[in-house]
Amino acid sequence: MAKKNKNVPKALGRHSLNGHDPQLHIPRSSQRTYTIVDHRLEKPSFTIRQIRKGDEIRYEVTGDLNAPVPPIRESKYLDKKQCIEIYRWMLLNRKMETVLENLYKQGKVVGGVYFGLGQEACSCASAYALYKDDWLGPMIRNQGSLLVRGFSARDIMMQYMAKAGSPTKGRDASSHFGDIERRNVVAPISTLGDLIPVLAGVALGARLQGRSIAVMTYIGDGGQSTGVTYEGLNFAAVQDLGLVLFVENNLWGYSTPADMQFRVKDLAERAITYGIPGVIVDGTDACQIYDAAHEACERARRGKGPTLIEAKMMRMKGHAIHDAAEYVPKPLFEYWRKRDPIARFEKYLLGKKWITPQENEKLIADVEQELEADRDFAVASPMPEPESAAGGVYCDSSCHEIKPKYGAPKVRVAKSGIATLREAAVHLK
């Protein structure tokens, strides 16, 4: 498994409704094996195990933790301007979360704060591959994806502070918001995997309106254990819907290590069981993430179905702000800190002379300035009136004009009238 192969195998094409690939003329059921494409330049080899030392049970990491940090892989698609934009989103993502952490320490946040520390490349470079008409369903750590999709840091800050002006008007927290009109974002819910069939359904709705779009969502190494993950991805596979599923393998599902979530070597192998392409990328390399996302999105827009992309990295904080992650062996933090996605990308851009140290400083200062303004605005904005908790449970006749987003559905109605209802073979008459 996990053979290195840069090219997506050709035998992954769309299958027509009659069960045959129009290009390959082979029935889909006869396709048995796939190569898992692995774009990484290094393959970390360590394991995390529960061990007993005397009366203490803890996690211990074994393996090679001294490997040198690999370079950023050159992108096949990104130019200088795009790389700098992604870098800026990553900075904004991280520094916004630092602002959130400070707001929390000042007692201004209601509830907890969730971080994407160490995962900024995965959030930002993946969402960067989406077009305006595509859709995104972020998970809790994909706050960077929301920024790329057009929400502002102030939106996210106000969500955390439960302000009247937050996207949900105080009704929900964190990344739990969306926009079906302009930004095409589905609001996540707290249970894991539930976005997967929903995003597949968005692609289905678009297809009924004559459009093949890319729909992107995420699941973790923990969340992929849920049944709805299987249901959703399998449905997308049999319907050839343009789902791009990032499996963010950050090694920890709250406090449970990945080795206690699954037995396969790489979660990308799961793709084989769905009959879809599976790809592995280094989750701390923005170029690898973008390239894989871009190829999967292009495939989706060609109507050729879903792709599973496993991004390997580590969650560099606890599950949420209350969790000090003391269960994580310290050497793991050291290993992954050396692979910090922002530091790596910064070094790459400086090394290529795509950005000068002065430009970099200015960019960082701009981001900080923007965040300061957003922070001041969010802090000063009012809490909701208590009565605003009422109403809005239902959509009354005037609250929304519901119409197909991509134009009139393409319908083909046969001439046959209402067929005679068959009475045979009915269960439980």
């Binding site: 359904g201 709705g205 678009a206 449905f235 197909p404 046959s416």
Partner: protein
């Protein structure tokens, strides 16, 4: 007017909505070439094509999730559950993803989840349930339980046109057992409005779905004794027609709440509370519940008969209540 079965009325209702509105489509298990386990979508795939009559894997969460996702793009999906007993498989999608969407983030979810519920067909514990109360308890959903062919057609059309998620419980015992005149012309029956299925001055029976017919049969028997039942068919359990409930109590001052669902936590308890709130002073006797017992639906016919509320139960309770 043509005579239609309850099932044919639902089938025609969905068919007509698909003709009228290209954003309506069906999704579910075995609904395509097979036409559905009960044949509600029989002939649909030939008429509307596999694009709009989508056979799915056996994956209820995926069916609801995909329907919801499609609804976010402005489509109006009609998702079939082969049996409403299996709705538990999609519970999280329905109550956490779909029901909360409009309140949380302003996303309307104009989808219908429909399928057969109810017993008296010897289906056993997994093919006979009445899970409607679970969803009445989830704000954001509408819950519909038709009792007649006319209502079934008008309500399914109203459900499809509604901008909210609607759980539409068809009663499988009624599918082929009732037949009545249904207009050819387009009509809807508004959600949230009860109807008086039979006018009477003595005792009210507030009920819905198959139990409406049990109440009407009891009313025929009692009429011979000079007791007139006011039978209220709720039609929609969420939102409940509070006014219709209060009105029948004001008329008769004596109320029986009848449902096929199990007793504890069933809708009868909620209706009793509404009567206390709206019409307590009008009561001349205790509010009496007639329901299934608190157990799974048993399989064997004599046991199922014991389990289900019967005409004789209604007659007995009415006679007792009349004495107050």
């Amino acid at each position: 007017m043509p005579q239609l079965t309850y099932l044919e009325a639902i089938r025609q209702g969905i068919w007509e909505e698909m003709e009228r509105d290209p954003s309506v489509f069906c999704i579910g298990e075995d609904i395509g070439i097979y036409g559905g386990a009960f044949k509600v979508t029989d002939g649909f795939i030939d008429r509307f094509g596999p694009e709009r009559v989508i056979d799915t894997p056996i994956a209820e969460s995926a069916i609801v999730g995909a329907a919801f996702g499609a609804s976010l793009t402005g489509m109006r999906p009609v998702a079939e559950f082969q049996f409403m007993d299996f709705i538990g498989c999609a519970f999280n999608q329905i109550v956490n993803m779909v029901a909360k969407a409009h309140y949380r983030w302003g996303a309307p979810a104009p989808l219908v989840i429909r399928g057969p519920s109810g017993g008296n067909v010897h289906g056993g514990p997994f093919h006979s349930q009445n899970p409607e109360a679970w969803f009445v308890h989830a704000p954001g959903l509408k819950v519909v339980c038709p009792a007649s062919a006319y209502d079934a057609k008008g309500l399914i059309k109203a459900a499809i046109r509604d901008n909210n998620p609607v759980i539409f419980f068809e009663h499988k015992y009624l599918y082929r057992r009732i037949k009545e005149e249904v207009p050819v012309e387009d009509y809807i029956v508004a959600l949230g409005k009860a109807r008086v299925a039979r006018e009477g001055r003595d005792v009210s029976v507030i009920t819905y779905a198959a139990m409406v017919h049990v109440a009407l049969e009891a009313a025929d028997i009692l009429a011979k004794e000079g007791i007139e039942l006011d039978v209220v068919d709720l039609r929609t359990l969420s939102p409940l027609d509070r006014e219709a409930i209060a009105e029948t109590v004001r008329k008769t001052n004596k109320v029986i709440l009848l449902h096929e669902d199990v007793r504890t936590g069933g809708i009868a308890g909620e209706i009793a509370a509404i009567i206390n709130e709206e019409a307590f002073d009008d009561l001349d006797g205790p509010i009496v519940r007639i329901t299934a017992q608190d157990s799974p639906v048993p399989f064997s016919p004599p046991q199922e008969e014991y389990f289900l509320p019967k005409v004789s139960d209604v007659v007995r309770v009415v006679r007792r209540l009349k004495a107050y």
